[in-house]
Subunit: 399 residues, 2 copies
């Protein structure tokens, strides 16, 4: 039978990353395609201890239905942490626990965006977010990224040129896929532009804690006097992604609608993962864990950048991230990295082609995203080396 | 600031049940309002043992990102169980793990229903489902419930009288809120009507295993030759709801779209809960647990029905469930059970007013839903007794 598919879901395709992951499942393949955190840093022994204790001694709390807003002590701990670490402390805001940062983006879109309304995104941007906007029939408008974040003039022009602009989506810190960080000046300017035009900002900050040298820029949310900013955070990159625990901080009026949307989506985030996140912070030192992560990723990133300098053809552009999980490269010369991907996969190395992160995914793109967080140093170097050979050859044909 | 709320979410209100739960949190209140399973049946010791083992010995599996479709061994176990227990085994179908049965309903709606399209529901029906449909701007049409399930003639008239009918939502077994079970004849007739008109059925079956005497009627899905039926199931009522693990079985074309929708919603269902569900079935005897649940609920239901016969005014209608968690009563005489609820709450007993389960929630309703699964025998009897006094008084004023 031919099924009637909704308009909102007809437009959307599964992400190309998923297809690449099929290659990546082969252990002989060097995957620079993922966005997974380093598994050797999971505090699994401590979580095992907590899980056993909770299930044994607090069975009803761990296994019965919970409230949609999330486990109250976890919400309070997140509020306290946001205040301490990110200077986020606006009267009139509230925090809701969500099933991963992704859900904060999806539910906000459901609550605020009609089909045909405009959502402005950085270009390139995170496919999970752009697909969430697409899945509600939003009209996506891309604003180019500079190395210090979104181009603010282009942003203002985009707001003025489009009707019903409902959201500006940004990952200001260690952006996915570019690894770029928005300057303080641009953060302020972005907030002012949004305020002037009455547009809500989604500030997605899953990587903010993963700063290599400990430097942290103020979040846009910390500048938010009007309740314009929806701040999405997550335990995925500072604890473990398989738990699917994230949080969202926004004006109470928005949180209220998101709570109703969450109630019909998954009722509440699974209790045991919420309790594990809370009790890990309560019983252990999450900041000490984060310090370890920063060192691990800083080292791996440096390894990758060294390898790129050594093995990639001269003149290939790459970003120099100060945190997070990703390096962005651009081969230029009209090369289509999507078309090049099968050759690389045949040589047992995979990346994510740049077109994945664009508003128009059908347009050829010469850029690509590399991830350094899951592979060993050796494999990072070997992977980059293999890519270098293929890229060199491809560039030769263009001369 | 005034936020722009989407049309789809403007129409929807938080469920009245949530407000009632605020009373129910007071331990001195007898709550016959919930839908929670009996917490004394949670196999928490076994789950504690499994959780500790998994987190210690399989940290990457337990804590890293998983695939959107769900943990493969769990999907296979669910498929095997559906075949064995429910005779669900259609070539061309697939199973996806979802974050509770609720998510199967929500994602199916997102994938199949445009704003303004019609969704037909039993009346009364489960508020979580009706609100999920409302949250996508569906036009809800109610079909009256008989004691043996949906009125099929009224269903066919509703399909013929409305445009773009995309879904028929039914809980054929131990329905929420009525506790009623659809006869085999009606199941067949419902399927034939849906097939004739090319409308997809959502068969929601969270309570099917909780049959008091072990009798099970064939699922509608087991009759599905065309791939018309989306079957939603859950571990919430046979293991623990706080895990948020459910499953959906449907034609592959529908599952594919639901996978894309799930990917942008919560990426995947939390790994540890999925692993707990799988390993509990693998290492322990879930059927033995279900047998215990059946006996527990059968006993509590009988206790409640006895109390109703003893303490409710003569002539009050009530259903006689053969499984599940709910009894439905109707006071008649134009009584508005929503208006009566505060008096009952003041007397420390709460129920869910019938209007909650209707398409038009603003229309006064003389019915109410009672739950027997969470309270002790004593409190069930005492709660019904208190309600009986209030209902008696209210009926007196109508004479």
């Amino acid at each position: 039978m031919e099924f009637h598919i909704s308009n909102r879901m007809s437009a959307i395709r599964g992400s190309a990353i998923r297809e690449i992951f099929k290659f990546a499942a082969d252990p002989s393949v060097i995957s620079l395609a993922g966005g997974n955190p380093a598994p050797e840093l999971f505090p699994n022994e401590q979580l095992a201890e907590i899980a056993q204790d909770l299930l044994k001694n607090q069975p009803v709390l761990s296994l019965q239905y919970g409230v949609t807003e999330g486990y109250t002590p976890l919400r309070e701990a997140v509020k306290a942490r946001l205040k301490e670490k990110e200077r986020i402390d606006r009267e009139g805001d509230d925090v809701i626990i969500v099933s991963g940062g992704q859900q904060g983006i999806e539910l906000s879109t459901k609550a605020l965006v009609n089909e045909g309304d405009t959502v402005i995104v950085e270009e390139p941007s995170f496919i999970g977010a752009t697909n969430a906007f697409r899945s509600y029939g939003a009209h996506l408008v891309g604003v180019p990224m500079d190395e210090d974040g979104m181009n603010i003039e282009a942003l203002e022009k985009a707001i003025e040129a489009n009707d019903n602009v409902r959201l500006i989506y940004t990952i200001p810190t260690f952006q996915n896929p570019m690894g770029a960080t928005m300057s303080v000046e641009k953060r302020k300017a972005l907030y002012e532009v949004a305020k002037k035009h009455g547009v809500v900002i989604i500030e997605d900050n899953p990587y903010g804690e993963l700063t290599f040298d400990g430097t942290k820029l103020p979040t846009i949310k910390s500048m938010d006097t009007e309740g314009l900013v929806i701040y999405c955070g997550s335990f995925s990159k500072i604890l473990a992604p398989g738990l699917r625990v994230g949080f969202m901080c926004a004006d109470k009026a928005i949180v209220q609608k998101v709570v109703v949307a969450k109630q019909v989506s998954d009722v509440h985030t699974a209790m045991l993962p919420q309790l594990l996140a809370y009790e890990f912070m309560n019983r252990f030192d999450i900041d000490a864990l984060i310090v370890k992560m920063r060192a691990n990723y800083a080292h791996k990133c440096a390894t990758m950048l060294d390898a790129i300098e050594t093995y990639f053809p001269k003149g290939v552009f790459h970003t120099t991230p100060k945190g997070g999980l990703f390096v962005w490269c651009d081969l230029g010369h009209g090369i289509d990295t999507l078309k090049l991907a099968p050759t690389c996969a045949a040589n047992k190395v995979v990346y994510v082609p740049g077109n994945t992160f664009m508003v128009d995914m059908d347009k050829p793109c010469s850029a690509l995203r590399l991830n350094y967080s899951t592979m060993t140093d050796e494999r990072i170097v070997e992977g980059v080396k293999r890519l270098g050979v293929i890229f060199e050859k491809e560039l030769e044909t263009r001369k």
